[in-house]
């Protein structure tokens, strides 16, 4: 993306792309395509051109537009989509991936200037969501979506979003709980100060009053803010697991009981402030751990890839039905750029299907009538008619999701460090507590009880519980700055334990448009001009590459033009007869496609030479190659093996590369690696990798645009950052080391506290100082250490 016009290039006023193929001029402003121009015209007509003042080229490119919204007239689909609807108004929220700047906010909140029937529209920028309220007597949902589309903001309406609507009510009021705990903590501390500084004889009446107030403040902390710890500890006990919540719940309970008893019997001031502080800090840790990326979804599966509705022919007429109602035997119409939702037989039309997402095969495949076409392919070309032969959920591609890898629950069986430690910690804690009790019991049962409870209070693993969330969330934001988005904090630890890396080929280490092109032979200026003028008529990816390669030439008039699908172009330009295409078209015979893709050029029956396309791999692949001794590297590809020899320099070993792999075979390969004891990271990009991503211990989806579709995974990596992968791996190990260190620090605090506690002489002041002090140490240590580690790895 270029920001301004440099050396005579003309940049589109709307989207900022260079105007190569076409140039439209309106009001002395240049537009690169019809789509961009029409958006400008809509905005101009509504006096909304301020849009272009806030940012330069705020629009998204509109060269490829194909939107069909007829299905939004279907009542079932409408009721699934809207948030609220009555007989007057409808409220609906859309996810719009194109939202990216202040101009977007400005324009989308001005919708009622374009159509007054829209009462209100509000944007949530981080979630890339717009909420629209409109009067449904004057405008339909479909018209609203079309309006959004016309101004360049097409909402992403997918099946999964429709389904997601129903199960997004997992709010647990964490913020409110923190507020209550913080409120009580502050008040209790204030009321405890007089006690700590000593009260004179006259003020003794206050002691009792303050004590009961403290107990009052502890009630909501224990029974509202802290309930989670009790229920979690109880659930874990029933499942015979000892996790860190058990000593925490025990600590909270003991603190509360002892405070109430001391105040009631007037024997002491109790530990009200320690209790409130403990719960407050613990909840803060929980809050920090829960970092979410609103605009990224890690849970997508084939449903978000498939259309919401399909066009079906029923008794001669075309109707739109929701995908879930599609049955075998129905005739469906698939138009240009639409996805085939279920396995079907081709009945009518010319099918040229792009399977890149399903198989990883880069070039479109042409299919003949009567052939079975698997779901997931994208039709390029005219509309085709097909008959559905399998339900959506049982087609070739979607069957993958029936694999047990997808029904498995979260966690993937990897226990994080703090879970392992807390098991032993709890056992040791209980042993110390009970032996203290037994030691004092014969002498003085009061002292014994005091020592017993003091041990449980002081050893309450608050700092221990905080070290993991704080380190991990700091690490997460470092990764985030480097365009590596992890699903949750536990993934950092998984990353540190990886010892095998499996890469997908197409889309992952190669990118679709990243081939390099060169011409073998010599071309004069006139010849270039002829080839350019021929190729610009075609939308085939190779033609596009050729004319962008030859760009900046004046276009000549095309007299005759035919495109032979899968072969090339026949054209008559300026009186010259031109053939551009593969050897079948140019020489009339097939050549053995060894390594290179070639496009031959024949001008007036004179052979000029060929364009050679070589694959270019993402920068950074060499770095990954260097990981070899420490990590086992593998390549899985759904593609043919014609790049085998080029790839050998990265993967060293032929056995490490597998070609022609089906999605299921990829999954099985990961599984067999795991059975041989490896902890596998899978890096892939398409639906065909979805099974392998899920099966692996750490699935990373690679994408060039994080808002685009990416299959369900544990982490999403921006293509630009693949080069940093080795550094990421090292940094994750640093983070784990920091956790080890912070565990040591917090254990030291526990031991200091215990030395007071076992004697039975723990005063509330010591507890009240020790607890916040250890917490503050841990928080500052983990944040600073993570920062330093990131700096050392040059990640910030």
């Amino acid at each position: 993306m270029k920001e301004s016009a440099i050396d005579g290039q003309t940049l589109c006023y709307h989207c900022g792309n260079e105007c190569i193929e076409e140039l439209h001029l309106v009001d002395a402003k240049a537009f690169c395509c019809q789509g961009c121009k029409s958006v400008y015209e809509v905005l101009e007509a509504n006096n909304l051109c301020n849009y272009y003042n806030y940012n330069q080229h705020p629009g998204a490119n509109r060269a490829i537009v194909d939107a069909r919204f007829e299905y939004l007239d279907n009542q079932t689909i409408i009721s699934d989509l809207v948030d609220y609807s009555d007989d007057k108004i409808t409220i609906v929220s859309f996810y719009i991936p194109a939202i990216h700047c202040s101009s977007c906010i400005w324009l989308l909140e001005q919708l009622n200037r374009i159509n007054p029937a829209i009462h209100y529209s509000r944007i949530d920028f981080l979630k890339k969501q717009v909420t629209i309220r409109f009067s449904n007597a004057e405008i339909s949902l479909r018209q609203v979506v079309e309006l959004l589309f016309n101004i360049g903001y097409e909402p992403l309406i997918s099946l999964q979003d429709v389904i997601k609507k129903q199960d997004k009510s997992d709010k647990d009021n964490l913020v409110q709980k923190i507020a209550v705990a913080g409120f009580c903590f502050g008040n209790v501390m204030l009321l405890s100060f007089p006690e700590y500084f000593g009260l004179s004889g006259v003020e003794q009446t206050f002691r009792h009053f303050f004590g009961w107030l403290n107990v009052l403040f502890c009630l909501p902390v224990v029974f509202y803010s802290g309930t989670e710890y009790f229920s979690s500890a109880w659930n874990n006990l029933r499942n015979k697991v000892l996790n860190i919540d058990f000593p925490l719940a025990l600590g909270i309970a003991v603190l509360f009981i002892r405070t109430v008893t001391e105040v009631y019997t007037r024997t002491g001031a109790g530990f009200g402030d320690t209790l409130c502080g403990l719960v407050f800090f613990l909840l803060i840790g929980k809050f920090v751990q829960r970092k979410t990326y609103h605009h990224i979804s890690f849970e997508r599966d084939y449903r978000s890839f498939f259309p919401v509705a399909v066009s079906v022919i029923e008794s001669g007429a075309e109707v739109h039905i929701p995908l879930s109602q599609l049955q075998t035997g129905q005739r469906i119409i698939i138009r240009h750029n639409e996805i085939i939702p279920a396995d079907a037989i081709l009945l009518k039309g010319e099918a040229l299907i792009d399977f890149s997402f399903v198989t990883g095969e880069a070039n479109p495949v042409s299919k003949t009538l009567g052939e079975i076409i698997y779901a997931g392919g994208r039709q390029t070309g005219q509309a085709v008619e097909m008959e559905v032969i399998k339900p959506v959920s049982q087609s070739y591609l979607t069957q993958l999701w029936n694999n047990e890898a997808f029904s498995r629950k979260q966690g993937k069986g990897m226990e994080i460090f703090s879970q392992k430690v807390s098991k032993y910690f709890t056992i040791v804690l209980l042993i110390i507590a009970f032996s203290t009790l037994l030691y004092w019991l014969p002498e003085d049962y009061k002292k014994g009880l005091a020592a017993f409870t003091a041990v449980l209070i002081v050893a309450c693993p608050c700092a221990l519980a905080l070290s993991t969330p704080f380190t991990m969330s700091a690490a997460l934001s470092i990764f985030d700055k480097n365009f590596f988005y992890l699903k949750n904090t536990a993934i950092v630890e998984h990353l540190a334990r990886i010892n095998a890396i499996v890469l997908d080929k197409t889309g992952t280490i190669t990118t679709g448009d990243n081939k390099t092109i060169r011409f073998e032979g010599a071309l004069s200026g006139k010849e270039k001009q002829l080839i350019y003028s021929a190729c610009i008529n075609s939308s085939h990816p190779l033609s596009r590459m050729i004319y962008t390669f030859l760009k900046g030439i004046e276009r000549l008039k095309t007299e005759e033009y035919t495109e032979v699908p899968g072969q090339g172009i026949l054209a008559v330009i300026d009186g010259h007869y031109l053939r551009v295409g593969n050897s079948k078209l140019v020489f009339g015979r097939n050549e053995d496609e060894t390594q290179l893709t070639r496009v031959h050029v024949l001008l007036d029956n004179v052979y000029l030479g060929y364009f050679a396309f070589t694959h270019q791999y993402r920068p950074g692949l060499e770095n990954i190659g260097y990981l070899a001794p420490d990590y086992n590297l593998f390549l899985l590809s759904g593609d043919q093996d014609h790049e085998k020899y080029e790839l050998l320099k990265f993967f060293k070993d032929q056995d490490a590369m597998r070609f022609n792999q089906s999605p299921q075979e990829k999954l099985n390969f990961i599984n067999s690696l795991q059975r041989s004891g490896a902890t596998v990271m899978m890096i892939g990009d398409g639906l065909n990798d979805a099974g392998a991503l899920k099966q692996s211990d750490l699935g990373v989806a690679l994408t060039d645009n994080v808002n685009n579709f990416s299959p369900g995974s544990d982490a999403i990596l921006d293509g630009r950052s693949l080069i940093k992968l080795p550094v990421f791996l090292k940094f994750s190990k640093d983070a784990v080391r920091i956790i080890y260190l912070s565990f040591l620090i917090s254990l030291t605090y526990n031991i200091i506290g215990l030395s007071y506690a076992v004697t039975g002489n723990l005063s509330p002041v010591v507890a009240a100082i020790l607890m916040p002090l250890s917490t503050a140490t841990i928080i500052s240590f983990t944040s600073i250490a993570t920062h330093v580690a990131a700096k050392r790895r040059k990640l910030i």
Binding site: N50, I114, F125, V175, A179
Partner: protein
């Protein structure tokens, strides 16, 4: 010194009002989107005078 009983009562009451205000803000969704308003405030209001041609 018994005025302290009264004063503490007042202070707690006041604090409770603020806690209540926070709860209300949270419930009414004021903290749901913490970013967009910061951008929105920088955008100019629509210039009403040029808005003369009512379209569609």
């Amino acid at each position: 010194m018994s005025i302290i009983f009264f004063l503490i009562g007042c202070s707690i009451l006041l604090a409770l009002v603020f806690l209540g205000a926070f709860f209300w803000a949270q419930k009414s969704g004021q903290n749901d989107d913490l970013y967009t308003p910061s951008v929105r405030i920088l955008l100019d209001d629509a210039d009403e005078d040029v808005e003369s041609k009512p379209k569609k």
